[in-house]
């Protein structure tokens, strides 16, 4: 109560003090004048208030923007961070385990040797799973934010790569390179035999190296056997009774030149059938689609390459009987839907069956677009655009092909070729859509004329 009395007294003193101040002020008189004049809220009261509101809004917006930036930066940093991987039991890949081996964070370049009686699982941070088969040896040579490079030293590596638009995975086996964009496959490598077996369960990969210098596409349900020693390459369909995994799970793959059943056999030398600097022409599994018809004929069933048996003819697929226009339309539809593998198959069929035609050249251009836009494989894209230009130097798509070839070479780091093409572009299409890029490249000091 005593404190209350004191506070009353304090308040009384404060009140008296304020009263003296108040009576000295003539604020009331001014407000009265404003009211008498019918004035609304004064600028002092209203305008700054609005400004204050705006300031608060600006501050709020800045705070939100800062939060968004921090978040975006975090996401960007995360996306730029190379993948990580775990080796061993903790990787938990499809129940595979290495007895007694605890999972450990993987070290780039370290030697991964699976025990003789168990697989060694590897789990990547993007969800990709690999497994080094019993007795096999491998290394993770490099990891990037978009994938990794895996070296198969010997034996079999099973892979299940998570597909994303910018995925970039490579599996090296001796002189062979398997380019992956998202798929499930096995790679078996026998160093002694210099032989590779690539078994595709889903998706597709491109295998290059040795006799497959220009690359061989292997699609789901196919198996590629290739050997550096013999120079032979065999692409065959997987059979139901011979599941792919077991066929390559053993460190000893089947003889490369006698793959079952009735395979399409291509000698390595037969693959670069196209002009020397052209991208590889793809082979379809099955006799009706695998054959490249040199005369651009009707693609008759039974046409084979290098001794493929006509007896192996499978029921005609749409790729074998459709017209070029139909195949191109189908490829376009698949490309628009992002089904690049299917689009590629249709275009490959056009290239094989209608060789030398305008449609075949158009297919080359479209393959370049898929390589460029779909797979970001700029080297391959450049090759396809070059193919179009070689086949149809004055074709309807020549300007676009030349422009995109410049872009592709430039992005692939092939500066000399890009500058060469750029010079040509500026001379031919000074007002073309790629003229700015072309001029910039052509005007570089030391640009190849």
């Amino acid at each position: 109560m005593g404190e209350h009395v004191n506070l009353d007294r304090l308040g009384g003193h404060v009140s008296g003090s304020l009263e003296q101040l108040r009576t000295r002020s003539d604020a009331a008189a001014r407000v009265r004048a404003k009211l008498a004049a019918g004035a609304g809220r004064s600028r002092v009261n209203s305008l700054p208030s609005r400004i204050r509101i705006r300031k608060s809004a600006v501050l709020g917006a800045l705070a939100v923007a800062a939060t968004v930036l921090v978040f975006a930066f975090g996401v960007w940093r995360e996306s730029r961070r190379p993948l990580t991987f775990v080796v061993g039991a903790a990787a938990g890949a499809a129940g595979a385990s290495s007895p007694g081996a605890a999972g450990a964070n993987g070290v780039i370049g370290s030697f991964l040797a699976a025990p003789p009686d168990a697989e060694l699982p590897i789990a990547f941070s993007d969800g990709t799973r690999m497994s080094v088969a019993a007795g096999a040896r491998a290394r993770i040579a490099d990891v990037t934010p978009r994938g990794a490079r895996v070296l198969v030293e010997s034996g079999v590596v099973h892979a299940s790569v998570v597909h994303k638009s910018d995925t970039r995975w490579l599996v090296d086996a001796g002189p062979f390179e398997v380019k992956v964009t998202g798929t499930r496959f096995d790679v078996a490598w026998q160093p002694g035999e210099q032989a590779i077996v690539v078994t595709l369960h889903e998706g597709s990969v491109v295998v290059s190296g040795c006799g497959l210098a220009d690359g061989q596409r292997v699609s789901g349900g196919q198996q590629l056997h290739a050997s550096c020693k013999t120079g032979a390459a065999t692409l065959s369909p997987l059979t139901a009774e011979a599941p792919a995994a077991p066929s390559v799970a053993t460190p000893t793959p089947a003889p490369l030149t006698a793959s079952p059943p009735q395979p399409v056999v291509m000698t390595a030398s037969s693959l670069p059938d196209a002009p020397a600097d052209a991208p590889r022409e793809r082979a379809e599994h099955g006799s009706t689609t695998a054959a490249a018809s040199p005369a651009g004929g009707a693609g008759s069933a039974g046409a084979t390459a290098s001794g493929a048996s006509p007896a192996a003819a499978a029921p005609a697929s749409p790729l074998a009987v459709a017209t070029a226009a139909e195949l191109l339309a189908r490829a376009n539809a698949d490309r628009y839907a992002g089904r690049f593998d299917a689009a590629t198959e249709s275009l490959d069929a056009v290239r094989r069956r209608f060789r030398g035609s305008d449609d075949a050249a158009t297919a080359a251009f479209e393959l370049g677009r898929i390589a460029f836009d779909g797979h970001h494989d700029f080297g391959a894209a450049g090759d396809w655009f070059d193919t179009y230009l070689r086949e149809r130097p004055a074709g309807a798509l020549a300007r676009e092909a030349l422009g995109r070839a410049i872009e592709a070479r430039h992005r692939a780091g092939d500066t000399a070729r890009a500058e060469q093409l750029a010079t040509r572009y500026v001379a031919m299409y000074p007002d073309g859509p790629h003229a700015t890029l072309a001029r910039r490249l052509a005007s570089r000091p030391g640009a190849t004329p």
């Binding site: 005593g2 404190e3 209350h4 009395v5 004191n6 506070l7 009353d8 007294r9 304090l10 308040g11 009384g12 003193h13 404060v14 009140s15 008296g16 003090s17 304020l18 009263e19 003296q20 101040l21 108040r22 009576t23 000295r24 002020s25 604020a27 009331a28 008189a29 001014r30 407000v31 009265r32 404003k34 009211l35 008498a36 019918g38 609304g40 809220r41 004064s42 002092v44 009261n45 204050r52 300031k55 608060s56 501050l59």
Partner: protein, 234 residues
């Protein structure tokens, strides 16, 4: 149950309670306000009805009758305040614009008290927010220290009192000021703050506690917060 509104204590009584000498009584009415309403002038209800009818002259009549009360209330709630004039203007503009919401025209004065309290509380909160954002925002000028109109001791106590009040929440500050500076009864406080009497009492108790705990840091306030201090005996 709210207690009926009673007129606040006359200034003279408050000054005596505070120990202020009688000869320091300030002039009650100033020119311009004093002559506004004579005996027989319209009642609060008449003014309210005239305002509702949109009569411009009624605004001035309203001001003349209640400006002193409102201004004084704002001083009690906010202390010396650079925006005092704007706030006074704001209270009357709100009253004039919102006169349609006044249910009982006879209770114009208590309605204005409520608007004043609301406006002052809003101002305190706005100022607190700006202070909180001061690391990036433009900081408004702090209120000027009270001019030396009272003894040095009282002036310092007034400054320290508002220093303490600035650190309190808007609700605590308003309750404390209405009770101890403005000298309103609890019933009036409850109506002005639009809370029940028991809530007003409970909150005032809290506000008092908060004030005392902060006030101990200010030696100038020691005579008023220490029980048995010299002011208690006067």
């Amino acid at each position: 149950m709210l207690t009926p509104i009673r007129q606040s204590k006359p200034d003279t009584e408050r000054r005596e309670r505070a120990g202020a000498p009688r000869d320091s009584v300030v002039r009650e009415l100033r020119p311009g306000l004093a002559g506004g309403l004579a005996i027989g002038a319209p009642s609060d209800a008449d003014i309210a009805l005239a305002l509702r009818d949109g009569k411009t002259a009624a605004s001035v009549m309203l001001f003349d009758r209640h400006a002193r009360h409102v201004e004084r209330l704002l001083y009690s709630l906010l202390g010396p305040e650079p925006d005092a004039e704007d706030l006074l203007h704001e209270v009357f503009l709100r009253a004039i614009e919102g006169i349609g919401h006044l249910d009982e025209p006879g209770k114009l004065r208590s309605w204005l008290t409520g608007i004043s309290v609301h406006t002052a509380r809003e101002h305190i909160r706005k100022r607190s927010r700006r202070r909180w954002l001061s690391f990036v925002a433009e900081v408004p000028e702090p209120p000027p220290p009270p001019a030396r109109v009272a003894s040095e001791e009282i002036t310092e106590a007034t400054r320290c009192t508002f220093e303490v009040l600035r650190g309190m929440s808007a609700d605590d500050r308003v309750l404390f000021s209405l009770r101890f500076i403005e000298g309103l009864e609890m019933g009036e406080i409850a109506v002005a703050c639009d809370v029940s009497l028991s809530t007003a009492k409970r909150r005032l108790k809290d506000a008092e506690k908060h004030f005392l705990s902060r006030a101990r840091r200010f030696p100038a306030l020691a005579p008023w917060i220490e029980e048995g201090g010299r002011w208690a005996s006067t």
